[in-house]
Amino acid sequence: MAEFEPKIIAFVCNWCTYAGADLTGTSRIKYATNVRMIRLPCTGRIDFMLLLKAFAQGADGVIVSGCHPGDCHYTAGNYHARRRWILFRSLLDFVGFDTRRVHFAWVSAAEGAKWAQVVNSVVNEVRELGPFEDYQKLARVGVE
């Protein structure tokens, strides 16, 4: 059987990380192809429900990435997002959800190389963890 290849969904902000990922491409840097990117206006726009939806749709891992603190196109969206992530991570951990599958990063428009490195390391870590069967199985609980 072929080695397990994780599905990673990346929620990225339009202004920094999406442009950064563009730079990764134009710089001809190769990185893992497991990632599906979803572009949103700002990390402040990224509702935690989107992350849960990604897992419900079969993601094995999720990356959320946006502008560094102080660089937000909308001044403070990433600061607000950061507070939400702090609480969301602790809540996930409290319900026993493996937070090693949820990753957060700051990647600016100039950090093409950093984006490749973030994706590669997340893909490797999630590959180690294996498919997120715990979460997929939950959809059958109470149905069968």
């Binding site: 935690f48 609480l87 809540l91 409290f94 319900v95 026993g96």
Partner: protein, 267 residues
């Protein structure tokens, strides 16, 4: 109890209040919420250990608002709820007459939000030792055990949303569970949708919950829901130094930020 009835009668007779939201005898030896509109009916009011419900949930209900200016029997959780609702612009000073009740059952005179703030400030707001013990028990489990514990608890959930109905802070006219383009929370009560619902409920109450415990009491299948909000309350306090229901000014942890908030988990 007599002092409470006397005070309620005075409020109704003077016309300062048109309805008293308080506790009365319910079925099965339980206390229930009653809405007293006539001075002679104030004899129905009771006050004892069974009176646990957070009556502030009724303050924003249209059916109760239509009864006229309310007065409310308020122990600590109700007082904190009133302050938090004020902070969220749902109540203004003077909207409700507060019949404050101290932890040992004495009447407290609380004419305005300022007085409530000062009174709440003088009381301990920490979790009770039993609550703390239960929370610590789960925190000390391994992550696999926590997953098993919660998926087992959530597997009983029938999505009746009694937790939402009992919560004074779940006042959105269209809740996220009613939004179906996309269907944020699956309608069927399967394990995954149940987990999503309880996570979203807790997250939407983060930094707002005053730990009255009504969600857990309302739950027909005894899911200890209040543990989720207690955990978040603890995180909000340790990370941001804020506590819900202590001031009538806006102090919502998630509507503000500090440049040096913790970020050791961000790459």
């Amino acid at each position: 109890m007599d002092a409470l009835r006397k005070k309620a009668r005075e409020l109704l007779e003077s016309g300062d209040s048109e309805v008293i939201i308080g506790y009365g005898e319910g079925s099965g030896n339980r206390a229930r919420a009653i809405f007293v509109q006539k001075p002679e009916e104030t004899e129905r009011l009771i006050l004892d250990d069974r009176c646990e419900q957070n009556l502030a949930v009724y303050l924003l209900k249209r059916e109760v608002k239509s009864l006229g200016k309310p007065a409310i029997v308020a122990r600590l959780p109700v007082l904190r709820t009133i302050l938090q609702l004020a902070a969220e612009n749902q109540l203004s000073d003077g909207d409700v007459a507060v019949i404050g009740i101290s932890p040992d059952g004495e009447l407290v005179d609380l004419p305005d939000f300022k007085a409530i703030e000062e009174y709440v400030d003088s009381l301990p707001l920490e979790l009770s030792p039993e609550e703390q013990e239960q929370l610590e028990k789960i925190k000390n489990m391994s992550i696999e055990d926590r997953w098993r514990f919660w998926t087992d608890e959530f597997s009983r959930c029938l999505k009746c949303y009694a937790c939402r109905a009992s919560c004074p802070f779940c006042y959105c006219s269209t809740c996220v569970v009613e939004r179906n383009i996309p269907q944020w929370i699956p309608v069927a009560p399967h394990g995954q949708g149940n987990l999503e619902w309880h996570v979203v409920r807790a997250m939407h109450l983060a930094g707002r919950c005053v730990n009255c415990g009504d969600c857990a009491r309302a739950c027909p299948v005894d899911i200890p829901l209040n543990l989720l909000t207690q955990k978040l309350d603890e995180e909000v306090f340790s990370n941001f130094g804020l506590k819900a229901g202590t001031t009538s000014e806006l102090n919502y942890a998630l509507s503000t930020f500090k440049p040096d908030d913790q970020e050791n988990f961000i790459r």
